[in-house]
């Protein structure tokens, strides 16, 4: 890392608009392209504070600030356009979290990086609607929260209840949601409203280590811990009535269910294995990066291809996982209301992936190019008429689901043409952390956080008390700031605001 005074560092940053900053070449060595990050005034301060802290002399055990990481990604071979930081950006492993970068597939030097996807491959958000309204749910809110908590296995060491053996797992890895459909866990329409229709076709389970499969098998159909959750939410605001109607959201007060989870230990192990492999490939192919964490391999190398195939298997695992929990949520609602999930109209509105790499077609400098787009803590947001979005959303643009944190609101946005041009059709993914976990544990009190939730009318079921502090809203950037920045910058458009009334967490 280049060590300079904070004031010197600032010379490499330039405010372009009230909502975006340019990172000039030279901020980090060997930058092939410039960087850009989107922030409003509040988020800007957090971003620059992180940089200022890292510039303090005599830092021990420190880590790279997000803005430096965006610049390091801009130095990777084969990158095109810009290295983009979304408003929820913060320091991560190699890539910042909230960082997207695209690489030209036809450039032999281009790379794929597991750090650009993250450990939780195909971590994402799914939103189910219901035809219930707040007044239907309020009288049974506690029972419903408890029932969801009883149905969905959560937290460290929990095991899935969907019957699975090793052979089932192989099939699920290959087939993704087609497996869930065949086994009767989901509805055919669910697939329509998923990115990639819930199945990455290049998945190859034979490229996945036994170790990953062993970690994955018991965890299929579990929510996990950390920032993952299942929430019962109520529509609080509708900004775009027409687009909301297309999603089956009629008016304020309607009840939805949001599930935020990923590929569990399976994906984590796939990522870990790939990082070990790629370290060797980097030495062999003389790939130089600014940071050891940016382990990568050429897209067309064996390691690169193997990673893409196993990543696709992990992506399929994650869709099966979210589908299994969709099934369990439908069961919980059906039992509570004594009605079939069909009659409750519990359709999937959409399912997004915010930790993934995909091959997509984009226009770069007026030419169509095939790119490998890494989105880490960033959600795809395709505009209206894009061929890869479902028929139902052809006119509105792709629904983009932004999960809030425990107790704060969540949003549904839609993709825009401007986002397609500026950020390769990408936008933010959530709130993004502001306080460290250790600091949250020290500064916040468990009971206080719980009481505050109760005061806000939120029923909460959580496996780990410590997590309550770590995941308290105070620990995160304000999701409303993040979403408003995306809206103001034009890279996606606000559609619906949702507020939780029950939270189930690890």
């Amino acid at each position: 890392m280049v060590v300079r005074q904070y004031n010197e560092e600032l010379k490499y940053l330039e405010k372009l608009t009230p909502y975006s900053w340019r990172i000039k070449k030279g901020f980090q060595p060997n930058m092939n392209v410039e960087g850009i990050f989107y922030v409003n005034q509040t988020l800007e301060k957090l971003m620059l504070d992180e940089l200022r802290n890292a510039c303090r002399p005599g830092m021990v055990g420190g880590f790279l600030p997000g803005v430096k990481q965006i610049a390091n990604v801009a130095a990777l071979p084969g990158i095109v356009g810009k290295s983009v930081g979304l408003p929820d950006v913060h320091s991560g492993y190699g890539f910042a979290i909230g960082n997207m970068a695209a690489f030209d597939v036809n450039d032999p030097k281009s790379i794929v990086s597991p750090g650009g996807v993250g450990f939780d491959i195909n971590c994402g958000v799914r939103l189910l609607r219901t035809n219930l309204f707040l007044e239907d749910v309020l009288p049974v809110k506690e029972q419903l929260a408890q029932s969801l908590f009883d149905h969905i296995p959560v937290g460290v060491g929990s095991k899935g209840i969907i019957p699975m053996n090793a052979k089932d797992l192989e099939e699920a890895l290959e087939m993704g949601m087609d497996w869930s459909l065949r086994e009767g866990y989901i509805w055919a329409e669910d697939k329509e409203h998923c990115e990639e229709y819930g199945r990455m076709l290049n998945a190859d389970p034979s490229k996945v280590s036994v170790r990953a499969k062993k970690r994955g098998l018991p965890q299929l159909g579990t929510l996990g811990a950390g920032n993952h959750y299942a929430e019962i939410q109520v529509v609080e605001e509708i900004y775009d009535k027409w687009a909301a109607c297309k999603m089956g959201i009629e008016e304020k007060g309607q009840i939805c269910v949001m599930i935020h989870s990923g590929s569990r230990g399976f994906g984590h192990q796939v990522a870990t294995d790939a990082l070990v492999q790629m370290e060797k490939a980097m030495k062999r192919d003389n790939i130089e990066t600014n940071d050891r964490q940016l382990a990568c391999a050429r897209i067309h190398s064996t390691e690169g291809q193997d990673y893409l195939k196993s990543m696709a298997a992990a992506a399929n695992f994650a869709w099966v996982n979210r589908s299994s929990m969709t099934f369990l949520s439908r069961q919980a609602f059906a039992k509570q209301f004594n009605m079939a999930p069909d009659d409750l109209d519990m359709h999937v509105i959409y399912d997004v992936s915010h930790n993934i790499a995909k091959i997509e077609e984009h226009i770069v400098d007026g030419k169509q190019k095939t790119l490998l787009v890494h989105r880490k803590g960033s959600t795809r947001a395709f505009p209206p008429h894009h061929p890869l979005i479902p028929v139902d959303y052809q006119l509105t643009g792709q629904p983009v689901l932004i999960g809030g944190t425990m107790g704060t609101c969540s949003y549904v946005l839609t993709g825009t043409e401007q986002g397609m041009l500026e950020t390769f059709g990408s936008t933010c993914h959530g709130a993004g952390r502001a306080l460290s976990r250790a600091k949250s544990r020290r500064n916040l009190d468990y009971m206080q956080v719980l009481r505050k939730m109760e005061g806000m009318g939120i029923s909460i079921r959580v496996a780990s008390p410590k997590l309550v502090m770590e995941e308290a809203p105070e620990s995160y950037k304000n999701v409303t700031d993040v979403v408003n920045t995306c809206h103001a910058a034009g890279i996606s458009k606000k559609c619906i605001k949702l507020k939780p009334i029950a939270v189930i967490k690890g």
């Binding site: 460290v156 929990s158 062993k214 970690r215 965890q219 990522a271 870990t272 990082l275 780990s464």
Partner: protein, 157 residues
């Protein structure tokens, strides 16, 4: 249940702490030898998954790890411990004893006896799930002449 000698049931004093990191957790461990710092680091990781006082020593398992430098040895050591927890026998450990510890030469290697019991929801409070071990900002202080042995590792959670 296995039989253990009394000496095998004695827990090591706590020589680790959790440091600030925005998204994840940074473990800082130390000891009178590099070996001890390694053992402490492993216990610290388990300590984030549950409350260690709830763990009884009822069974044990051996793990082995290899590496081409001390960083990768530490990485694989923690990865093995995480795997021991994530799959059969789902062991959560409160005591680690590294029995072989070769940190010189081409192939670095260690063998560790892990003491604990199967993780049971209800008995063991659920802490935070560890997704993976990272090389991110990993630091190893190995200065025998000053008797300083410290490790810094970020675990992804």
């Amino acid at each position: 249940m296995e039989n253990f000698k009394d000496s095998e049931l004695v827990l090591a004093p706590c020589k680790y702490e959790y440091l600030d990191h925005t998204a994840d957790v940074q473990i800082h461990s130390w000891g009178n030898s590099l070996k001890e710092a390694f053992e402490q680091c492993g216990v610290a990781m388990y300590g984030y998954m549950t409350e260690l006082p709830s763990v009884e020593i009822k069974q044990s398992a051996y793990i082995e790890a290899e590496g081409h430098d001390i960083e990768s040895l530490l990485f694989h050591f923690l990865d093995e411990l995480l795997f021991l927890f994530s799959c059969e026998p789902n062991l959560i450990c409160s005591r680690l004893e590294i029995q072989e510890f070769i940190t010189e030469g081409e192939e670095l290697r260690l063998k560790c006896k892990c003491y604990g019991e199967e993780f049971v929801i209800g008995k063991h409070p659920q802490g935070t799930e560890v997704k993976a071990i990272t090389y991110s900002a990993m630091q190893i202080v190995n200065e025998p002449e000053k008797n300083r042995f410290e490790l810094f590792v970020i675990i992804d959670i």
